[in-house]
Amino acid sequence: MPLSDLTRSRGGKIPIDDQIVRITSRLVVPFIQVYGIYVILNGHLSPGGSFSGGAIFGASLVLLALSFNLEAGARQIPHHAASLLESGGALGYALTGLVGVFVGSSYLANRIAGFPMGQPGELFSAGAILVITVFVGIKVASTIVTLFYYIIEGEK
């Protein structure tokens, strides 16, 4: 039986109604989220980056929704907020690129557009790379959440 049928048959509630799952995920979710943020923010320093970090963060929200119920998950990140972040992340990327055009160097320029480069190896370094990584991370996380909700709810 597909997941969407399961949710519909229980009036929007996921049938996983288990104390152990709830308590474990309540304990684990903050750590997953912190780890996701860590992977995103260290994209220019260590393996990983925006796509993987965003996927981890998005997965934590999906886990929350699965182990409690859809409403609790939806309260964490409401629909319109998810789609706002979705557009906002991509828009932020494109607009960061435009800085290069305004400065007069080139679209999506980093160093030559005058972004502060910092000391290589520190958290706040690499100029536009950090900014773009954060935007793409937000975008990927909200993509996963939005896809999850739209597919699970079918039409709305």
């Binding site: 789609s83 557009s87 991509a90 828009l91 494109a94 055009v101 007069g104 080139s106 679209y107 320029a109």
Partner: protein, 492 residues
Amino acid sequence: MGVSEHFPALIVVIFFITAFISPLLYRWGRKFSAALVIVTIAAALGMTVSLLVTVQQAGTVFYHMGGWPPPWGIEFKADPLRLFMLLVVISVSLWIFIFALRDLQHELKKRVIGWYYTLYSILVGSMAGIVLTNDLFNLFVLMEICAISACAIISIKEDRECLEASFKYLILSAMGTGCFLLGVVMLYMATGYLNYSFLHLELAEAFNYYPRNIFTAAALFIVAFGTKAALFPLHVWLPDAHASAPSPSSAMLSGVVIKIYAFALFLMFYEVFPRTLLEAIPLNEIILWLAALGTLFGSIFAMLQSDLKKMLAFSSIGQIAYIFMGIGLNHESALVGGFYHIMVHAVTKAMLFMAAGVIIYSTGVRDIKKLAGIGRVLPITMIAFTIGSASMVGIPGTGGLISKWFLAISALEIGRPVFVIVILASSLLNAIYYMPIVINAFMQQEDFKKDIKPVPRVMLACLVIGMIFIVISGFYTTPVVTLLEQALALYF
């Protein structure tokens, strides 16, 4: 120079930015996002024209993304030929979008029209990127965007047939994209470059060491772009997808999207692969014969259809084959013919789909046999349909003749008269299925019995613009032909 030197990047990026903003605007109403898309396309049109003027004065413009020079970064290239394509793509998109504003209201649910605008804007942006980019991997990424958004503007219609057709299209075009990526990998392994210009230089030498790799890559490119552009035996997805889509989507897909891939194949053969490869293995012969079969079979299939939009979709298979024939003949004036046909067919087929859309909007009739006598109730629409049909057949005074003329002349020049016969035969076949519709529409005495909804003026105005353009392109050919000859001289 100021901001104008950033035009090659901005033409693509403004479409993406518009698409990202427009979902935020839905809350205030659809009108804002429609206006935003129109402003964006118009701005892109302005930038293209200004870039064309610059390029004609100062030569080809290169743009380095992020300021990194070619083998390291992504390069955009604006030469006269690409700008010609860009001009066709963007102006036809603007024209179709204005038509779509009225037509969509009866074809789509209210709550998805806003998303249609978003998808449309991304589609146009990705096509502009495919035309401008000078980097193979960037081309792959843009092809992905183009494929998904093209599927989405079909499946957005509430119709089982649309879902099925768009799913078929999605799978086949994903297969095409996969073949393309495999080919890119092979070329990268053999040369170490992704930039067209660097590949072109490096492949001539690498062909001695890795002939099979490069040949396979070329074969994969033919399959990839052939699938996406509906070259004859790979066309199976096209009729369903183009026939079941909402009319503006059909116009866009049949008019512009398939030509973009034909253009990309042209770039592969004339900018990426070296001449020695094409002399060693006659790949263009394969394209040429497939195109010749396509012109004939596309028309024969079209004759058997009873649904108006399906007939137009099959006719596209025959017409895209003319463009491939231009590429396959490997001769300058054949390519002039091919590119002229890109322009003429983009306008003509889009206009025919618009006319079909108007007929469906106002009467709900899709069956060709039931169209008898419709010329009396929808005169402007059927006059547009007549002129479009004439251009498809290649009657003097329409743009369709000019491209066929160039193709036939160059086939004679290089001593292959068999293709002249193919062109003549397919024109005859075109006449066999287009002309009865026109004749029945005007000559039939019986009254048209269905209820007629009045047609909005905007839709009729769009049809009139198309008619005027087709007639002008049949008489006043010099500026475009000169532009194309100058642009193509760079390749020979």
